[in-house]
């Protein structure tokens, strides 16, 4: 029995076929990066894994059980969603945002219990953002927002985090810090399914990579083996060279860059 997987997943939206038979397996505690050009179905695939969409055929299985056999509350206990730090029209403070991760487990009409508040604070402490708890979400920087949303997932208690392009809109420093957070959470046993626009980020995190093109999985496997020069150029229609640095770490060098 595998941990979290999809077998022969098809999905169409208004007669437009988006996914054509996708197989994806996620081991517990691993990081899976989804690569692919814009509009290849990465977001759709993640929504199917979150149970937000129903596949036209095929099924997503979580711990040997169909994802849709779980109640929405049970599902939230296993899988959580870290959206891009979306524009939120109303101002909530950071602690309240994190507390929203507890919503499914609070009782109707009651305010958050002390246990819930403690869980939320612990989650923020783990990510080193407890000092932000009174700040309004909108006034936080992109990196801080993303950490608040991750803290919300931790407070939710789910061990699987599905992230939609977590670094988008972040500056270079915050990008690296976020990847580091993902890496350390994964060492603690958290499982990640994330889409990314940067093959380099997948390489930094290691784990597994699935490359998606026109609704098919073009290549998959260990990230270090899967991401090759040919794959990158085929996925993104680019001309880059994948070179090993002296310490053995691969970097992408576009053809237009002058090298010796």
């Amino acid at each position: 029995m595998s941990f979290y997987e999809a077998h022969n997943l098809h999905f169409s939206y208004n007669d437009k076929v988006i996914l054509k038979g996708v197989d994806l397996r996620i081991e517990e505690g691993s990081i899976v990066s989804l690569l692919g050009a814009n509009g290849t179905g990465k977001s759709t695939l993640m929504k199917l894994f979150l149970g937000l969409l129903h596949p036209s055929s095929g099924e997503v299985m979580l711990k040997g059980k169909s994802l849709h056999a779980y109640s929405i509350k049970e599902r939230a206990l296993h899988v959580s969603y870290v959206p891009q730090s979306t524009q939120i029209a109303f101002a909530f403070c950071a602690l309240d945002m994190v507390l929203m991760g507890r919503i499914a487990f609070e009782s109707w009409f009651k305010r958050a219990s002390q246990t819930d508040i403690t869980l939320a604070r612990e989650a923020m402490e783990r990510l080193g953002i407890v000092h932000l708890e009174k700040r309004t979400f909108q006034t936080l920087s992109g990196g801080e927002k993303q950490l608040v949303l991750i803290a919300r997932s931790l407070a939710q208690g789910a061990k699987i985090l599905v992230m939609d392009e977590p670094v988008s809109g972040l500056d270079y420093g915050n990008q690296l810090r976020l990847l580091e957070t993902i890496m350390s959470l994964s060492k603690e046993g958290y499982t990640f399914l994330k889409s990314t626009h940067f093959p380099e980020h997948a390489l930094m995190l290691g784990g597994y990579t699935y490359a998606l093109k026109e609704g098919h999985i073009l290549a998959h496997g260990l990230t270090s083996k899967t991401i090759t020069e040919t794959l990158i150029n085929e996925l993104y229609n680019t001309n880059v060279a994948l070179k090993q640095t002296l310490c053995g770490y691969p970097v992408c060098i576009p053809a237009f860059v002058q090298t010796k």
Binding site: Y13, N14, K47, L50, G51, L52, I72, K73, R75, A76, L77, V79, S80, Y81, P83, T86, I88, A89, F90, A91, F92, C93, D96, M100, G101, I103, A104, F105, E106, F109, R111, A112, T136, Q138, R152, Q156, V162
Partner: protein
């Protein structure tokens, strides 16, 4: 701490404005006399004031039902406005967004035209208020299998509102211009002058109950304002929460039309002012909307019936007062509706 102080303050001003409203009117009662009467009647302490039959008649039979209706309607409009704003993640939404006000007005006008009883008018207003919202939801449902629900709901509401406004014009056009038309027009301007104990009793419980339940749904509305995907992934049954909130808000809005006709702007501006005072957290915001809306409408209604020799229709007054307040509130819009 700051919030409880604020709530105390608003409750006190609601009480004060209700007392003052009880005292003011064509027959003015001194506050001291009013107090003596209230204490004597309710607690059976002290002595009866002079002219007790007349005073009781004015205070308990005429003014009190009206003021209580004003309190309930003010709270209902503001809470349903606040709830709709949270649901649609848009601070510019008012309770009429799904067509409920247009539908209820049409229903009332139709009721005035074809029935001679007050109850008939109220039933028509109620039924068509709900029908208009169902029409909006129906339009959204036809196309909304995969797409964004919110946009379709807004469009459904626009369609339903326009439809019932057009039908209202038809009724106005064919209504008897000497007898029925003025009643319809007057109704559409909103007024509490027709409220009696019977109306109050029949609507008080559903109004109060829905206002309280909707106010208590704050934390779920908070989640809805994050967007559907986010809310679902957090383990919330989005459709269920949204439909219950729409049902309650619709019930509230139609009942306000049943009681007092069309009263615009309250449901739009009060949530803004409340948000300015206590922030966007619906758990605090909605109860604040209820109190603030009630206080606001008591003050406006008192002005309407006392400031001139004839009574000013309250719908006109709320618009005239509401528009400048709204322009001021828009200054906050740039700051993300804090």
């Amino acid at each position: 701490m700051k919030n409880s102080l604020l709530f105390g303050l608003i409750v006190a001003s609601l009480g004060a404005s209700m007392l003052i409203s009880l005292a003011l009117g064509r027959y003015e009662i001194e506050l001291g006399t009013l107090w003596q009467l209230l204490v004597w009647k309710c607690l059976s302490v002290g002595s009866a004031p002079h002219d007790v039959t007349l005073l009781s008649n004015i205070v308990f039979d005429i003014r009190l039902p009206r003021i209580l209706a004003v309190v309930l309607v003010g709270a209902a409009l503001s809470v349903s406005g606040g709830a709709f704003q949270a649901m649609f993640v848009n601070p510019l939404v008012s309770p009429g967004i799904l067509g409920v006000l247009a539908g209820a007005s049409f229903g009332a006008a139709l009721g005035i035209m074809i029935s001679n009883s007050w109850l008939g008018v109220q039933l028509f207003a109620f039924a068509f208020g709900f029908l208009a919202v169902l029409a909006a939801l129906g339009v959204a449902k036809i196309y909304g299998k995969n797409g964004s629900q919110m946009i379709l709901l807004v469009l459904g509401g626009v369609i339903s509102s326009s439809l019932f406004s057009a039908l209202l014009s038809v009724v106005k056009f064919v209504a008897d211009p000497y007898n029925k038309l003025p009643t319809i027009v007057y109704w559409l301007m909103g007024s509490f002058s027709a409220v009696d104990m019977k109306t109050l009793i029949s609507v008080a419980i559903p109004l109060l109950l829905s206002t309280v339940i909707l106010s208590l749904m704050g934390k779920y509305l908070n989640i809805l304002s994050l967007g559907d995907d986010d809310a679902k992934a957090l383990g919330v049954r989005v459709a269920w929460v949204r439909n219950s909130a729409i049902l309650l808000a619709t019930l509230l809005s139609t009942l306000t039309v049943v009681v007092a006709g069309m009263i615009g702007w309250v449901g739009l501006i009060i949530p803004h002012i409340a948000r300015f005072l206590v922030g966007a957290d619906n758990r605090v915001l909605l109860p604040m909307c209820a109190l603030l809306g009630a206080t606001f409408l008591v003050i406006v209604d008192t002005l309407c019936r006392t400031s001139m020799s004839i009574e000013i229709p309250i719908g006109i007054a709320t618009s005239l007062i509401g528009i400048p307040i709204f322009v001021l509130a828009l200054r906050n819009a740039k700051k993300g509706f804090v």
